[in-house]
Amino acid sequence: MKNLKLIIQREYLSRVKKKSFIITTLITPLAIGLFIFVLGFILSYSDSEKKTIAVVDHSGIFNKPADLAKSGNTSFELVDATVEELKANFEDTNFDAILYIPEIKNLYAQSHTIFFYSEKSPSLDLEMVLSNRVKNKIRNFKIKELNLNQKELDALNTSVDLDPEPISDTAKDKSKHTNAVAAGLGGFMGFIMYLTVFIYGMMVLRSVMEEKTNRIVEVMISSVKPFELMLGKIIGVGGVGLTQLAVWAILIPIIQIIASMFWGIDTSDINQLSMDQAGIDQEDVMGEFSMIMSEIANQNWWSIIPLFLFYFLGGYLLYASMFAAVGSAIGDDMTEGQALTIPITIPVAIAFYIMIVTVQSPNSNLAIFSSIFPLFSPIVMPARLAFEPPIWQMILSIVVLIGTCLFFTWVAGRIYRIGILMYGKKASFKELFRWFFKQY
């Protein structure tokens, strides 16, 4: 027990003290902050060039000064001339482009072509602004000309919200956002699980291989039991993983806040920009946003966080012990090892895709099976947590996972103790299987 503690300590400290660890742990949140900054910059980027567009309106829809309001750096000017005249003296005018709106001859026509004359074709942004503006104008024009009632027309626009209600009175009422929030949260947690299993599992694999190639392993097992060495390594690396996740969980929000303060770029800016283009009402969105936030706050974090940690540890232990067993068999030849890691990575990848489907239909048979099947449950169950799966499924999943973890660690230990002393033997699954049953 004392040795196990020493091993864990060394495995943990030797990694946490490493420069590369400190750098990646600190740089990753910074990189995410930088990414948000760059994203904001890109999304808020608009044509910096000032442009004036001459509008030749033969339809008579541009009749108020507000119709010619500036959009970004582009200003409009109504010109009382024909397109041909403007084109002839284009060099002498200070216009950058000409927008020609032909007369609307048929009020029932559902399409109307307007013309844009310029040296360069218009940007997508500008095209959208122009066509949206003209579309609204034409609509108003048609309403007026056809003597339609604006109020009645507005009444035709109905938005439908589906509010899920429980049948029994005791069950918790859900808002229409509950499922979306749960899906987002579940997907996020499932994704983190997927990443960590890979990153830290591979870390265990590499470390076991290193000990074998360094030839330190026989020195070690003349002092400690191979199982202690393997377990100490798995726990130590797991601690490194938890440390990294904890640092990120604290740093990423902080950096996000700092980034938005410093550069004056707010994630809401980005939202607003995309809303502008989609033509969504700002106030509506703010309402939705606060509802989503309160939905997130309403999650049962007291059970989600401990369960997430449990599945993190369980999944990690399960896969790390398999990686350790394979690592012990590989030794010097990494290319040969690649083939042995594939059978481990396949279930992780399958679980990841099941997780994506699970988030959409959390109570399907596939989701229920996968959240109990121990190779998938560490990734799939966290994705279901926010949907509040039935208690019996939770308990079954936890019990099965604990049992499988113990079993896999035991199996891995048996393979490991033989593998680390085998040099120059080509490792295969048949070989690993034989080692498992070997008396040593």
Binding site: L6, K18, E218, V219, M220
Partner: protein
Amino acid sequence: MNSILSVQQVSKHYGDYTAVNNISFELKPGQLFGLLGPNGAGKTSLIRMMTTITSIDEGSIFFNQEKINSDTPGLIGYMPEERGLYKKMKVGDQLLYLAQLKGLSKKDAKAKIQSWLDRFEINDWWNKEINELSKGMQQKIQFISTVVHEPKLLILDEPFSGLDPINTNLIKSEIFRLKEAGTTIIFSTHRMEQVEEICEEIMLVNKGRAILKGNLQEIRNQYKKNLYEITLDQSPADLSNLPGNIQEQVDNQIIIHLEDDAMSNEILSFFTKQGIRIRSFKEILPSLNEIFIQSVEEVEA
């Protein structure tokens, strides 16, 4: 005196292959014991059982009258043939870690490591990474890590492989010093000539079996062929009356076979009477290599 290590009819099988076949031997405290045999003879398999790395298939091993158990590794210092260190660790941390795993307290370990570094005059190495050291330097650290917990039994598997002559001598003198201090030492190697200068007791192993064991001097006497080599100042004129049979003569060097040890003096007087000066006269004892080859042949015959 009670034996410190007693190996009793021990066997080890790997599948159909028998790596160690019914080997027994005893070690007395303070003995320097040579475990000899070609590569693949079963030396390492035998050692791994003594250090509890692998289990014993048949027979039993006692350490200090007690069946070997999980406490045994702490009393043994084992330097495997396949050895290494954590490359990225500092010398001091590395030694501290390995010493603590052997059961030393941190404070104890620190003091002992310091005195060993002083002994090798490398006390400024504490903060060096293993990576920065040359191969020979790493071997010194490896040796310290093996002996720092003052083991009762020291097992060295090919300790001189990869060492230059200077470091070989350094480690050799340390081995002697530890032996004088009462440490029992097992020295395992396939290079017989290394053992001839060091060990008192030996065991020859081939194909998993112990084919010869005992006191090195006695074994050599047992295998000697009563051959003597005499070197003279000049080529002798007439050798017809020389006692014994001449095996070989190169100029003034003669190898003679004697039926009886007592006849050696007669040879000396034969030459001195003739007024021929004798430069050297010695008995040719068989080398361990020769003994090994001969005993393998005997066993297989």
